[in-house]
């Protein structure tokens, strides 16, 4: 994989690699992600030909076997010329999970990052339109976090009651 040589030359020690089935992964730990993630993705895009952001999603690793960091954002990059894919995993931790936004590199990241923020509460610094996307803007929880209950009564009780007079 030639992109690994490029990454090793520029970001040696900042990432680890792993693979499963046909997924080749590059992981950036929570301690490094805020600093190197943007440059690493930019390098993959500009120098290694991964010009397509196929997927961006969040994962909450709370309670996962052998997990060290809590939140993870997965960037699925694809090279449209060769069809090669690479998965970049960036980690973030409580109390203030934050990662750099990649909207500058791929406009498509806009809504996908908003969804990760909405569902997991991971903030993306530099995002041009940092709002919730699926849940109402008054909502306080982040529903896909592992400590958010699957069943039961929740924030709905906290919604302000709208009367006909002030609607």
């Amino acid at each position: 994989m030639p992109y690994l040589d490029t990454l090793n030359a520029k970001f040696a020690g900042a990432f680890t690699t792993s693979a499963f089935r046909d997924n080749a992964r590059v992981s950036v730990g929570a301690d490094k992600a805020a600093l190197v993630l943007f440059d690493l993705l930019k390098c993959l895009k500009d120098e290694c030909g991964f010009d397509f952001l196929a997927e961006l999603g969040g994962i909450d690793y709370m309670g996962y076997p052998n997990a060290t960091d809590r939140f993870c954002v997965v960037y699925g990059l694809a090279n449209l010329t060769t069809g090669e894919r690479v998965w970049v995993k960036a980690f973030a931790n409580d109390p203030d999970p934050e990662l750099p936004s990649v909207v500058e590199l791929w406009r498509g990241a806009d809504w996908m990052e908003r969804e990760v923020y909405d569902m997991y509460g991971v903030r993306f610094s530099g995002h041009p339109d940092h709002r919730r996307i699926l849940m109402p803007s008054e909502y306080t929880g982040h529903p896909l976090r592992k400590d958010y209950p699957l069943r039961g009564y929740g924030e709905r009780h906290n919604f302000p009651t709208v009367t006909r007079a002030d609607s």
Binding site: F20, E55, G57, G76, R131, L134, L150
Partner: protein
């Protein structure tokens, strides 16, 4: 609900004009949106200055449910994402799960799934094309398209017992083998479909009104298509040559690769997206025709001894091995053993790349079942495609993107 735009409109345009702009709320219940989505349009006369989509009205926590239901149960939920072509979602979901566990499905299962995936694509494109034409005033094409979709539903019904949400696939196979009656129905569909396709082509391709309403409307350049992560017909109409059926062949597409071509356009406007969809239907028809004639015999489920597939009723009630396996797969604390790993699997569905990112923790339930929904990603481009156009172009662009709100919000 206060909904703020990223930058206030007043700063975008020269100050004096600002007072003439007004805001129009479009949806969430509007006949032209077809599904539940809302747009906040800032208008200058009839010209759209700014379009801000507000989504989430159908958000029902599918991905949270995916962390609670097991791999076979969740298929009923993915069914309901893109309800225009539910079988394609099921196939994509179990494709990913099988990739995770490491199952190689049987040749017959591959072919049956391929045929159903292509039928789903035809059904999806027919609805998209028909509904887009309907919104632009061409009712007849819509009726022809729905008549043909009915045939697809009949095939799905004869296959799985349900018309709309068949929940047909299972880990390592299918809930039932297809009968000779289904093969006859598919052959019949293969015979009759070109006529329907030709009818729609003759109704729309050179229709002056249809062309005027779609050509040059909602243009998406190739650079924007790549930057906005577009996939499927939307990307291909803009000149991005990418089709997972050719690039990362799955199911029987490797063997059938000579049967079909990838349809691409260059213009990136609504008319091109329409043409790409029409072209893709013919290619799907070729795949189905080739696949149904070379349908392999043999089982549709992987070997029972692999302890992966649900045994049929006969095996469950009449053999101890079948009973044990049935028990193992249905007890909540047993089910499948999975590697503590994660995997992404994607299929080329009618709307684009439908992928699932499954994180497994060793149990038979996904720890995380992330969906890559093509509708969600395509709707993000809507403001870009809409700005500068007339308000009457909103249905044309919405129809050409084929936004399915259940998949958009999940």
């Amino acid at each position: 609900m206060p909904l703020q735009t990223a930058t206030p409109v007043a700063e975008d345009v020269a100050g004096a004009d600002a007072e003439f702009l007004y805001t129009l709320n479009f949806g969430p219940q509007h006949p032209a949106t077809h599904t539940t989505l809302r747009l906040i349009l800032t208008l200058d006369g009839e010209t759209i200055v700014k379009a801000v989509p507000d989504i989430g009205y159908l958000h029902s926590g599918f991905e949270k449910l995916g962390e609670d239901l097991d791999f076979n149960q969740y298929v009923t939920i993915v069914d309901r994402m893109n309800y225009i072509s539910p079988v394609a979602n099921e196939i994509a979901w179990h494709h990913t799960v099988e990739k995770l566990i490491g199952i190689e499905i049987t040749p017959r299962c591959k072919y049956v799934r391929t045929i159903l995936a292509e039928l789903a694509r035809i059904s999806d494109h027919l609805l998209c094309v028909g509904a887009a034409a309907l919104d632009l005033g061409a009712l007849t094409a819509f009726l022809y398209a729905f008549n043909a979709r009915e045939k697809v539903y009949n095939i799905i019904e004869a296959t799985a017992g349900q018309r709309f949400h068949p929940s047909y696939t299972r880990v390592g196979g299918l809930s039932a083998d297809i009968s000779d009656e289904v093969v006859a129905l598919i052959r019949d569909f293969v015979k009759t479909f070109p006529k329907v396709h030709g009818d729609i082509v003759r109704l729309l391709n050179r229709n002056r009104i249809f062309i005027d309403r779609t050509k040059g409307i909602g243009v998406l350049s190739k650079e924007d298509a790549i930057s906005y992560s577009a996939s499927g017909p939307v990307a291909r109409a803009s000149g991005v040559v990418r089709d997972l059926r050719k690039d990362e062949p799955y199911l029987a597409y490797k063997e059938l690769a000579s049967a079909f071509k990838v349809v691409c356009g260059k213009g990136g406007d609504c008319y091109n997206r329409y043409l790409v969809r029409m072209g893709e239907m013919l290619e799907s028809w070729k795949i189905i025709a080739a696949a149904v004639e070379s349908l392999p015999t043999g089982p549709v489920n992987v070997d029972l001894n692999d302890k992966l597939t649900i045994p049929d009723k006969n095996a469950t009630y009449r053999s101890i091995e079948g009973l044990i396996q049935h028990f193992e797969l249905f007890m909540w604390n047993r089910r499948w053993e999975t590697p503590v790993e994660e995997v992404y699997g994607a299929n080329e569905t009618a709307n684009g790349e439908l992928g699932f990112y499954v994180v497994a923790d060793g149990s038979g339930t996904a720890f995380r079942a992330r969906t890559r929904p093509p509708s969600f990603i395509h709707f993000a481009m809507f403001p870009l495609m809409m700005e500068g156009h007339q308000i009457s172009d909103v249905p044309a662009v919405l129809g050409s993107l084929n936004i399915i709100a259940a998949e958009l919000d999940r």
